[in-house]
């Protein structure tokens, strides 16, 4: 069942109860969870937070912790799985689901007793009607049981059966259409901030988490730019509401959020301009920076902007203040000539006292990198807690560590993309392109993680399209595989599929396709992730799995 008034239908119901919060491993989810935790604390609502990466995690966490609670909040997980079927909860248990994954499971949608889905569906989102997918089966069974007594050629029964078969076919089609594409709804962090605001418990820190959550969705291409703009406008209202005081009216060390135009460059305030441009998906693929020509183009651009190369190669904070101040406008003025029309986008930044400024983008890069830390000493849940810490404004050191991790991650991605292109390793399989990170690649430790792998895939595809002579490449999706070096088992790879660059909306059919291909071939595959476009697959089964995919998609 959908609920829209979160205050009445969610918050008021759980006040005074103990809550189990199951939070997916993504930045938006962690931001949402932090907002909720902060609300719960102000109302003395006791809770337990358990990080969830896979379906198995969900089942384990449920078995471990659910016995003691009657109210479970699922953040960015569980919405697309029939929860009652998967977890077999006792009747008095209620799930509140805030999941940005789509499509939502229809059993969840039509369960009014135990499942409360906290979301507003987008205008373009359609859910199959109840009668099209569910029907009362009693009469049917009855007639089956009594079939022996009645004449076989009972017209009525026959008609009924025919009608039923037809209905079943319809149902199958409807459900297939509904589940064919996976995509994302709006940011859960923003949803939770909205609740905080309605409860009059919002603050700059909570707002910042909402902004980071929303920005993550933009960066990982889970939301379309125009949708992002709409949400940004709302967030901007909150920003001006909470930051309306002039700077000198407030204590120096207070938190300030500013709405401003921002360069689509990764971590440039904490890197050098050249490095940042090289490692940012947008600028690198537009200027084709991994080629000699591209390198030259970059130098030209910088020269035209009047930026001395030496300054652009040193740390950004070491650049002349006058150049730094003009950087945005200089780049903007040359943007069109170099095809960098979208280099500026509407974003937010945060500052406190004399501390350096951080943009929402910085936060997303840093937190995403922390979440998939390559440090062998750290477990996945350690990383989850690091992200939780790094989002706390006062814990700057963790964030800074994340920024360094992110640079390494981006460098690894850049190196890999260059290898793919130099070695012509992006290969067309007909209905899709594919590329494989070779076993033994040292950087594979970075890629054996969902978010980083997705980023590698998107970088690779855009770079490939940018240099490809074939027009068709724009309309082809990409599959990338990489050895799952983080797993204790050997001979397992991660497979990630992304939609073609020509696709406007980030709809992804690989989730369903992977499922069918695995079914058909009986491959040893684990469809464990909540982002269904990523799976784990036995390397031995890879070729037959791909063959099945090709025939399926041709």
């Amino acid at each position: 069942m959908f609920i829209t008034d979160l205050r009445k239908q969610f918050y008021n119901l759980i006040t005074g109860k103990r809550i189990l919060l199951l939070v997916h491993f993504d930045v938006d989810g962690i931001c949402a969870s932090k907002i909720l935790q902060s609300l719960f604390r102000t109302d003395h609502i006791l809770y337990t937070v358990v990080p969830i990466q896979t379906r198995t995690d969900l089942i384990n966490a449920f078995q471990q912790h659910a016995e003691q609670v009657k109210h479970i909040v699922l953040i960015n997980c569980g919405g697309c799985i029939d929860l009652v079927d998967l977890l077999q909860p006792s009747d008095d248990l209620v799930f509140f689901v805030a999941d940005n994954h789509r499509p939502l499971d229809i059993c969840n949608i039509y369960n009014a007793e135990q499942i409360r889905i906290m979301t507003k569906l987008g205008d373009e989102e359609e859910v199959p009607a109840f009668d099209d997918v569910f029907r009362e089966d009693e009469s049917e069974e009855e007639s089956d049981e009594e079939g022996g007594k009645r004449p076989r050629f009972d017209e009525e029964a026959l008609e009924k059966r025919r009608e039923r078969r037809h209905w079943e076919q319809q149902r199958h089609k409807i459900i297939f259409d509904y589940t064919q594409f996976s995509y994302y709804g709006s940011s859960t962090a923003t949803l939770m901030f909205d609740l905080a605001w309605k409860l009059s418990k919002d603050s700059n820190e909570l707002l910042w988490w909402a902004i980071v959550g929303e920005t993550e969705q933009l960066i990982s291409e889970q939301t379309e730019p125009d949708k992002y703009l709409l949400v940004t406008a709302t967030l901007q209202n909150h920003v001006s509401r909470l930051n309306h005081k002039a700077q000198d009216e407030q204590p120096l060390d207070c938190l300030r959020i500013t709405f401003e135009k921002e360069l689509q460059l990764a971590l440039y305030r904490h890197w050098s301009l050249v490095e940042s441009m090289r490692h940012s998906l947008y600028s690198a693929t537009t200027l084709r920076l991994w080629t000699l020509k591209g390198e030259k183009r970059l130098h030209e651009l910088l020269a035209e902007m009047g930026l001395p190369l030496a300054q652009c190669k040193q740390k950004y904070c070491g650049m002349d203040v006058s150049l730094r101040n003009e950087l945005q406008s200089l780049l903007e003025s040359k943007a069109e000539k170099y095809g960098l029309n979208n280099i500026l986008f509407a974003s937010f930044s945060i500052s406190q006292g004399f501390r350096s400024k951080f943009s929402a983008l910085d936060y997303v890069y840093a937190t995403s990198a922390l979440l998939e830390n390559t440090d062998k000493e750290k477990t996945a849940t350690d990383a989850f807690l690091d992200v939780t810490d790094s989002l706390t404004i006062s814990k700057l050191t963790v964030l800074e560590k994340g920024i360094e991790n992110s640079k390494q991650q981006l460098e690894a991605i850049y190196r890999q993309v260059q290898t793919f292109l130099d070695m012509n390793q992006v290969i067309s399989a007909g209905p899709f392109l594919y590329a494989t990170v070779i076993e033994g690649t040292p950087d594979a430790r970075f890629f054996a993680a969902p978010h980083c792998l997705s980023l590698l895939a998107r970088f690779t595809l855009k770079a490939h399209v940018a240099v490809s002579r074939s027009k068709k490449s724009r309309s082809l999706p990409l599959i990338i595989t990489t050895p799952d070096v983080r797993s204790s088992e050997s001979n397992i790879c991660l497979v990630c599929g992304i939609p073609p660059t020509s696709e406007e909306s980030p709809r992804n059919f690989f989730g369903k396709a992977f499922e069918q291909a695995a079914d058909k071939t009986g491959s040893k595959a684990e469809l464990e992730f909540f982002d269904t476009n990523i799976i784990r697959l036995s390397v031995d089964d890879r070729s037959k799995f791909f063959d099945a995919l090709i025939s399926l998609l041709s």
Binding site: Q37, R41, T392
Partner: protein, 194 residues
Amino acid sequence: MLGEKALELIKELDRSKDGQLPTFNEDSIRMVLEEMTTLFEQNQRDVNATVAGDVRFFSGVHLRHAALERNKRCLLAYLYNRLERIKAMRWEFGSILPAEIRANICEPEVQWFSRYNKNLAAYMRSLGEGTGLDLTQDTKPPKNLYVEVRCLKDYGEFEIEEGDIVVLQKNTTHYLPMSHCQHLIRQGILEHVE
């Protein structure tokens, strides 16, 4: 030099100032006791001579006696300071000491410890005309009723007020009543999240 062995014991404790407990040094204690027996026997012989009228032995007797007293002081100080450390551990770890620490204490110390525990428990029970008060709790002034804590190791089920149970599993985060989880924080099972 006299009293050297006994001083070794004291130095041993001095070197481990930070509240650690070195292994109970039975050998050194035995050697000190042997030294004391020797000194005592020599003294008895010489005292007899002194009593018999030969005062030349007085200085030697007196010197040995001072050494005997010194040895005694060192031995008792060794025992006493060890007990102080064991006692401090009672307040930090609770009434059951970690196995690694138990391995470093001797049987009489174990007995002392269990009697100390019993005495302490009896006293705490007697407070408030028999309703009892656990003095090992509430070690910091309360600021909040509830705290957010992070679980640093798998601990299992843990009871908070009136039969409510929380499962403490590594890297899970919880918001719990302060009064219930203080000692788990002190023991390093939970971490208070700022």
